[in-house]
Symmetry: C2
Subunit: 401 residues, 2 copies
Amino acid sequence: MPSLSSRPTIIRRSPIRRIAALLEEAKRKESIISFGGGAPSLPPPREVVEYLAKMLREEPAKAVSYTSTRGIPELRELIAQDLKKHWGVEYDPNQVLIVNGGTEGIYVALSATIEPGDEVIILDPTYLGYSEAIKLFGGKVRRLPVSVESGYQPSLEELERIISPLTKAFILLSPDNPTGRVVTEKFVRGLVDLAVKYDFWIIFDAVYKHISFGRKTPWVDAIPEARERTITINSFSKEASVPGLRIGYVTGPQEAIDAMEKIKQYISLAPSAAAQYAMIKFHEDGIKDRYLEEVVIPTYRKRRDLMYKLIKEYLPEARTVLPEGAFYFFVDMRRYLEAMNRNDEEFANRLLYRKSVVVIPGRYFGDKGKGHVRMTFVTEPEDRIEEGMRRIAAYVSSYVF
Amino acid sequence: MPSLSSRPTIIRRSPIRRIAALLEEAKRKESIISFGGGAPSLPPPREVVEYLAKMLREEPAKAVSYTSTRGIPELRELIAQDLKKHWGVEYDPNQVLIVNGGTEGIYVALSATIEPGDEVIILDPTYLGYSEAIKLFGGKVRRLPVSVESGYQPSLEELERIISPLTKAFILLSPDNPTGRVVTEKFVRGLVDLAVKYDFWIIFDAVYKHISFGRKTPWVDAIPEARERTITINSFSKEASVPGLRIGYVTGPQEAIDAMEKIKQYISLAPSAAAQYAMIKFHEDGIKDRYLEEVVIPTYRKRRDLMYKLIKEYLPEARTVLPEGAFYFFVDMRRYLEAMNRNDEEFANRLLYRKSVVVIPGRYFGDKGKGHVRMTFVTEPEDRIEEGMRRIAAYVSSYVF
């Protein structure tokens, strides 16, 4: 075999994707309770799947035809209206680029901005895909630590200390994975000031934007000075419960959108037509707002509150923060893990093996995540959240007591 | 705005994608006859869209859920069986990576093999996406010319002359875009010998593999020595008429597949679940073979034969080759263009403006394509092929005679 490039060796395989593959092949799937990958278990809005099913039957060629790389104009128009309505930002539909989910959004944003040697600042812990994508472009990863003590809120002072002349971008995820933290207005304002002062990009990952249980996330480029230096990543996976349709969008300055579109032509040509038509329907007839207000948020809020109660009850020595948004509890388990003489990864592996419960080791999200586990509350219904938490409690107490 | 990376400046915008976007926005779409983008106008097999529509209605959460990055095991198993049946090659399902269409296949194959400075040999003319994707990875493009005189068949002698110590890969597309040429068994055998001798990868782009009107394309890695140095790109866009579902697959040595999967995790996470389920159905109940034999090939063969007849009739001074496969005529128009004092791009622009017929300028496929145009016969039905060719003839004769 001729040699491979160095790219595969400079990145690591996603451990969460490895778990996804294992679960897909597991024979005993039913008995496994997953607090692992953040996969919504809710079906998408009825009207959306009905619309797509009908279109597949009645206009099959249209439903599966090529579209432009930027995406169907009607969908981009609806998205621009929706951004204005929910976040007060005005975007021309040409400043909206449809992408194959948030992952492709991050990838094209980094591709269009990062040169080898550039530094990108991300939080620690944070979504594990950022560091690997940055490395694929030769970028250097700098990490800004956050902790349970400060409610996983980043500090502007610490941020300014790690900014260097090589800083090219900062990635902000709010609501956050893995912590559920919604960033403060004050932080965003300060971040924008720093981005202007030191001339770097803000990549605002807003894939969980509509999953919040109280305070909405501040919107970065609602601040005028941010507009020319912010690329925002959006996904329909979470808000429409369609992770497997692989559809999202990116907004940003026109020149950046044009650059990302150009690159995307050679990565994936164009987004899925079927997924785009489904998302056109999602924005019509008030379906989106109704689905979020009546189905998604109430369902997830109940599950979140239940998991919170059970963590307090079954794992009283654990420390966590009630998530204001997104899908996850990030739980500091160090008191238990020390008593068990296990690290978070060993704990997660054995918990799956012994009790058939999936949790994600905190170290996968950064060094500061060591001793923590991430548990999602959106994949399982309430009875199985109860059952899973009971199994975790039984497993822990078999060691600790 | 902070600076963008250099990537957008080293590649060019795809002129074919620009035309796709223009057509999408055109008000007078109906009157435009497109011999442009190779978009099949046939609907996909009835059973496939029915199956997907039913699944969306009855199991919506499953139809749009995350899958593993490599793809649903059942689909990969069916693909492995299909490759054995049609091409006599044995692949383990783990050596099949599902991708978001042929474009992503090419992109991940190059990402996993090409370092900055490596040379990749492609034909001239050839599919315009290769050169830009190579450049995105810092690779250098070397071109092997082919011409209408030799039926667009590449020469082994000329190939060996441009191989250098930096040659890392050769991209072979058969059946070919833009020429419709199916490569010879002799060329493939010689290519494999050279790849072994000079230790380079063969990237075999087989996206048109089932679109042939006589002789099937030789299969590169059916030759044992090719197995460890060939990555094959497959797409369902052409064979199932589902370009807008964005689904295809890649095969290759296990280590290369593992590397490509790892990279893909950070490009697009996972392929579309809905598209994968549709393609599972495509492989069942003999649907695929029946659809190809009874619908696709007879329909396209008729259109191809009609267009050939009309080219001979209306453009007697043009030179072309009856395509053995794929979707296109590549027509040497130099006799006309010289008389008209226009190059191929000017000709195509004016033809669209004056006569509302889309053809693709040959120069977009490489310098050797200058003076040619590419015309697809799969997008329009026969009456519109007739009408389009009449308009071209009228346009040309208004100048020439």
